[in-house]
Amino acid sequence: MAAYLIRRLFQSALILLGVSFITFLLLYVLPADPVRQIAGRSATPQNIASIRAQLGLDQPFFVQYGRYLWALLQGDMGRSYLQRTDVASLIWARLPASLLLMVAGIGAELVIGLTMGVVAALWRGRTIDNGLMMTSFVTVSAPQFVVALLLLYVFAVQLGWFPIGGYGTPAHLVLPALTLGILGSGWYARMMRSSMVEVLRADFVRTARAKGLTRGRVILRHALPNAILPVIAMIGIDIGIFMGGIVVVESVFGWPGIGQLAWQAIQRVDIPIIMGVTLVSACAIVIGNLLADLVAPLIDPRIRIR
């Protein structure tokens, strides 16, 4: 176990190194000059040159990357070009909100998606199955912004059940998490349905029925844990997709997460922030995958941690 963790962490470090390199390279060749953003409209060429030199942006690529890595190893993610402050502190300030939203969102996705999938599998081929699968398509095809705003409008503005955006109390969390949950549930619903249909045919389900267990118990205790395995692997993958979806939801609900930070940074080529956010998301994804791999054997004892 410990050995496994050490190995995985080492691999993860390599992956993060790769991510940092590729991102840095992409940003380096990006046709946009951060210095121009910093220097402002009244800048003279001299101003620009001095800022460029100050930030080391006049150095060759590998020198720049090397410096970045070296600083990173010492826990320094650099300073934002435009916010003129420590990137790490910017990210740390926003990370809890994003993580909270992510966990709640994935939770909502799972609850909604798995329920849909299980119900559809149980009534395979019936109207309810078709209806649910249709719904799953609508949810994956729905534009995030519209869904978010619609929920906000109905449940917060019209009904007044929840606050209109913001952060802090559990009530604030409901709508953003629900939005993410609805939007992502389609994938889980379909995965779950496929895998559930398969498991329901398995011999051990027949055994469970032969024992005279109630339908609920057969499904929850026997079919579900077996069917959920492919879904667990999905969660690891999902975190990566999530990082994209979170931007819109955060902005509609005024959620102070890193999505918004990243968004502004991308718009304005604030490279240190983009790098920082990318690395933090990559970390989240890597950790998410690791967790998924660690949870899998808990659910299925046959999977041994290798």
Binding site: A2, A3, Y4, I6, R7, R201, A202, D203, F204, R206, T207, A208, R209, A210, K211, G212, L213, T214, R215, R217, R221, H222, P225, N226, I299, D300, P301, R302, R306
Partner: protein, 589 residues
Amino acid sequence: MTDPAQPTGAAAAPVLSVQGLCVSVRTDAGLVPLVSDISFDLARGETLAIAGESGSGKSITSLAIMGLLPPPAVRVTGGEIRLGDTVLTTLPESRMRGLRGDRIAMIFQEPMTSLNPVMTVGAQLVEAIRAHAPLSRRAAQAEALAALTAVRLSEPARRMGQYPHELSGGMRQRVMIAMALALKPDVLIADEPTTALDVTVQREVLDLLRDLQRTHGTAILLITHDMGVVAEMADRVIVMRRGMVQEMGQVRQIFAAPKAAYTRDLLAAVPRMGQGGDAVPRSTAPVVAQLTDVQVRYDLRGGVLNRVTHRVHAVEGVSFDIRAGETFSLVGESGCGKSTIARAMVGLTPHQGTIRIADQAVGTMTAQSRKSLSAVAQIVFQDPMAALDPRMTVGDQIAEPLLIHGQGNRATRRARAADLMDRVGLTAAQLDNYPHEFSGGQRQRICIARALALTPKLIVADESVSALDVSVQARVLDLLRALKDEFAIAMLFISHDMAVVENISDRVGVMHLGQIVEIGSRAQIFGNPQHPYTRRLMAAVPVADPAAVRPVIPRMAGNSPNPVHKVGAVVPRHRLVAVADGHLVAQAG
């Protein structure tokens, strides 16, 4: 053995009564009957055996009784099933559920897949108990433990916390029986409860069933193809063929004076121990397969650096050879390394030592050498369902080796496939079916047909006839024998059925913990078994004669010594000493 002729409940009202049962499957070509017009009664405390051809509808009948026919295609299309006063065929699912497990329980044919892989054995037992009795968790646990103890599982308390994959096939089967035991049903349906087990374990299981019946008066519907088991266990027998009852009657009567022609064939086909004929001198034909000091070890990793710390010494220093036209059998208890040798011989498992097949060294395989090896050596896997591609029609699968080796055109390949199907007792009409549409025994035959397609020089048959009913078994054995004679095919035959082994083999090797403990000609091994382990195997074989007296053998606890050793540990080798010409016996073991 107890006297099976006690007609205790024969006169009383039947617990289970099946009248005119029909089951059909919906196919592209319309409704096809699988079982038609089956009727029988089962009385309290009685054991009714259903014997018969593989694919005759035995499993389907029992599933119909349980109300567990595989959806959506297979359905009951006629007749009535009664449990006491309750008509099961029209019972709503919710009421049926209450009866299942409580009043009728079933042990399924495939023990490997019938337990939930993600729940501990204990939890599965406790759950079954609590589903029918209002017991506290603690009380249910105690009861489950008692049931596991009753089936003589070693270390029952520890087993409660283990998962199915941590148990061997035999242990799993015992867990299934324990479950049935704990539920104390009125009727127990046992579908081939011992097929997957080696003889010693089979013996145990049969004893258990008898115990259960004695203590609870349970009526048992025993499905089996093994006439030995029938003779030992049953009060009455139903003989089925092609979905219909051929004959029904008291077991003694049927064994003594079978009426239906099929029953006569069936009984005639039963291989019996000690009927293997006389010793024949070893053939001088060329050697097809030669194994010299073969070792197979599986690495077990662990520790901080994920290094190999332990190894399973699955096969340890095995040597033998098989000549053209000769059948060499390997016997031994579950886990002793039989399948491993089989896999090594066709290049599926890396090994040390040398294996030569038809002058070709089996070793590190390139695509080319694998292909040429496949033309001379073929394997029939132990688990037929797993060895067939579930998404390809069996016709295509049988023709596939021909296609791979570029033989014939489409039409001739199909004709060959049809011919092979016919030879293994199936029909050409079934060529376009998929594997799941066949019964267990039928699948095994399909695997045999596929292996024969290329007419190889060596066939490795790993438990290839164990799921077959005796008549088909006899047909297949005849087929194998005929092929062997016709094409001088050499065969490695792996089986736990000593009678079959005696029947078909020229030479026999007895394995224990990865090593051969005794090897010799059939006559030598069966006529003059030397090693105590060999003797124990022989004694455990059920005899297909209801009147036979079974010798008492000590029951053993189910866990066999295991072949896992630390890296670097030296495993003591048996020294084989010749006791007669070609008859070698291990001295230390």
